[in-house]
């Protein structure tokens, strides 16, 4: 039976609230290109429990205060302006190398149970069936950031595979957040931590290409009214839905 809440809620909003809750006050948090969902989640966290979170991004605005989010990009001047300092991308990478970046948002196209991440190719590396856009920061940030949060708006057996085609990087993934579920990387493997209230354990298992332990899984909360109001204030145009 579908509740009133479930009918109106978009998976993006559940993901955003889930992600925002994973961020803590005073942390340094970075997202890169094509990252509108984490962008909104960071801005939400700053309006809720993490007012002093240090929001870092590619254009280099520190704690920018965007008034009109771009619909097509998470690397533009909207998230540079009205900040308290300038700290551009190279500096953010350097910070992560020094072990001082708390959270980075990264993506990928294939993940396997051992925590391997592929953002490079489908097929053979030198003769690829599909050339992916590239891992951007993944290959150097996932091994060095304190917590690598991976989000992916697709959750199917082609994304969560038995064995990735190519290891762009591996290990040190904190969590993977999808429209269906949250995986936590622990003891060298991805463990199902939570599922969306919009799905079922069975649907998650069916759409995951590796075996999943379904014990002790919790269900994510729906966004509260207050959370939805804040999200809509941050993102009135709905750029957070662009990836879906």
């Amino acid at each position: 039976m579908m509740t009133q809440e479930a009918k109106n809620v978009h998976p993006a909003d559940i993901m955003i609230v889930t992600i925002a809750k994973l961020l803590h006050d005073n942390e340094t948090v970075f997202h890169g290109v094509s990252s509108q969902l984490p962008m909104v989640a960071i801005l939400l966290a700053k309006k809720m429990h993490a007012k002093n979170l240090n929001y870092l991004n590619i254009p280099g605005g520190v704690d920018s205060n965007p008034r009109n989010l771009l619909s097509y990009s998470s690397a533009g001047e909207d998230i540079y302006n009205n900040g308290c300092a300038v700290f551009p991308l190279q500096e953010i990478f350097d910070l992560s190398m020094r072990g001082k970046l708390d959270v980075a948002f990264l993506s990928g196209v294939q993940f396997d149970k051992s925590g391997n991440v592929n953002a490079s190719v489908i097929g053979d590396y030198h003769n690829p069936k599909i050339r992916l856009p590239g891992g951007a920061g993944s290959a150097v940030l996932i091994p060095t950031v304190k917590r690598a949060l991976i989000w992916r708006t697709k959750h199917d057996a082609r994304t969560f595979v038995d064995r990735v085609d190519f290891i762009t990087t591996r290990g040190n993934v904190d969590r993977i957040i999808t429209p269906l579920a949250v995986f936590k990387y622990k003891d060298n493997e991805l463990k199902l931590e939570a599922i969306s209230p919009l799905t079922t354990i069975d649907e998650v298992v069916k759409n995951t290409g590796f075996t999943v332990n379904t014990q002790g899984v919790r269900v994510l909360d729906y966004p509260t009214k207050e959370e939805m109001l804040l999200i809509k204030k941050i993102d009135p145009k709905g750029v957070r839905y662009k990836e879906f």
């Binding site: 998470s74 533009g76 001047e77 551009p88 991308l89 190279q90 590396y125 856009p133 590239g134 190519f166």
Partner: protein
């Protein structure tokens, strides 16, 4: 020295086979007018250097000017999707993708900037990229005996950078995000600047603290208002969605020719005016 020249003279500096670094990031402040002129002049076998690229790389590949692309990320981001001309060319074996992390491109440019053969990179480990590519190596730290990955230096022949304003000597100001443009200007042998506006040397001196590219590094200055279009210019104009969609969707050669000719007037309109 007055370095203001026509766009055709500026781009004629580039030779077939050159390594060319492109400023801006994804759809922001890409040197589009300069890239279009490269296509018009039918340059061949260029080796493109970019951290995160989009339309300019897609255009140069579509124009058949490219031998390899060294980058961390090539895509139009979310709304306009993948760079399909680039992707298809790589999948067909026509263009070589030198996959990097964005950071290893920067590290390689930093090595070029200081004229050393490689740069150590702490974070590049646990990656198949190291063995799959000949520009990464693992060496021994002489102080501790530990292993460290190094990336081979990149020294572009030419950097193409679109700026907000500069003087006739090339002393240049970039409003808003600088991205990797300053790094590229240091690592590259020559710099071609296109600019929204040329201001006088005395005006530049009033804004000294904001001049991030000194003129003595610059080889040519081209006055091209809206020279980043259809990409965005921070503080000045946003992307042109219709042009980008048409470029992506009109896949035949006429689509490319129309795109180039539609911009030709704008790209060259300052040439017969008094540039100041």
């Amino acid at each position: 020295m007055n370095k203001v020249v026509n766009i055709s003279d500026a781009i004629s500096i580039i030779k077939d086979g050159d390594t060319v670094a492109l400023g801006g990031n994804t759809l922001h402040r890409a040197p589009m007018a300069l890239a279009r002129e490269i296509v018009r002049q039918r340059k061949k076998k260029l080796n493109i250097i970019k951290t995160a690229g989009a339309h300019e790389v897609d255009l140069l590949v579509r124009g058949d000017c490219v031998e390899s692309v060294t980058a961390g990320f090539i895509s139009y981001e979310t709304e306009f999707g993948l760079a399909m001309y680039y992707r298809k060319a790589v999948e067909a074996g026509k263009v070589k993708a030198n996959e990097h992390a964005c950071y290893t491109v920067m590290c390689a440019l930093n090595a070029g900037k200081i004229n050393v053969p490689f740069m150590p990179v702490y974070g590049l480990k646990n990656s198949d990229l190291i063995n799959a590519n000949d520009y990464f190596r693992v060496i021994t730290d002489p102080f501790t005996g530990d292993s460290i990955t190094v990336v081979k230096a990149i020294k572009p022949d030419v950097a193409l950078i679109h700026v907000s304003e500069c003087d006739e000597h090339g002393n240049a100001i970039i409003d808003g995000p600088v991205y990797d443009d300053v790094l590229m200007s240091r690592a590259s042998n020559k710099i071609i600047i296109s600019t929204e506006k040329i201001i006088s040397p005395s005006q530049i001196r009033l804004k000294q603290d904001r001049v991030v590219i000194p003129g003595f590094l610059v080889h040519a200055v081209v006055n091209i208002p809206r020279g980043a279009a259809p990409c965005s210019q921070p503080g000045k104009y946003d992307i042109n969605k219709k042009v980008l969609s048409d470029f992506i969707n009109n896949k035949d050669n006429d689509g490319l020719m129309k795109y180039l000719s539609d911009y030709e007037y704008a790209d060259k309109k300052m040439e017969r005016k008094n540039v100041l």
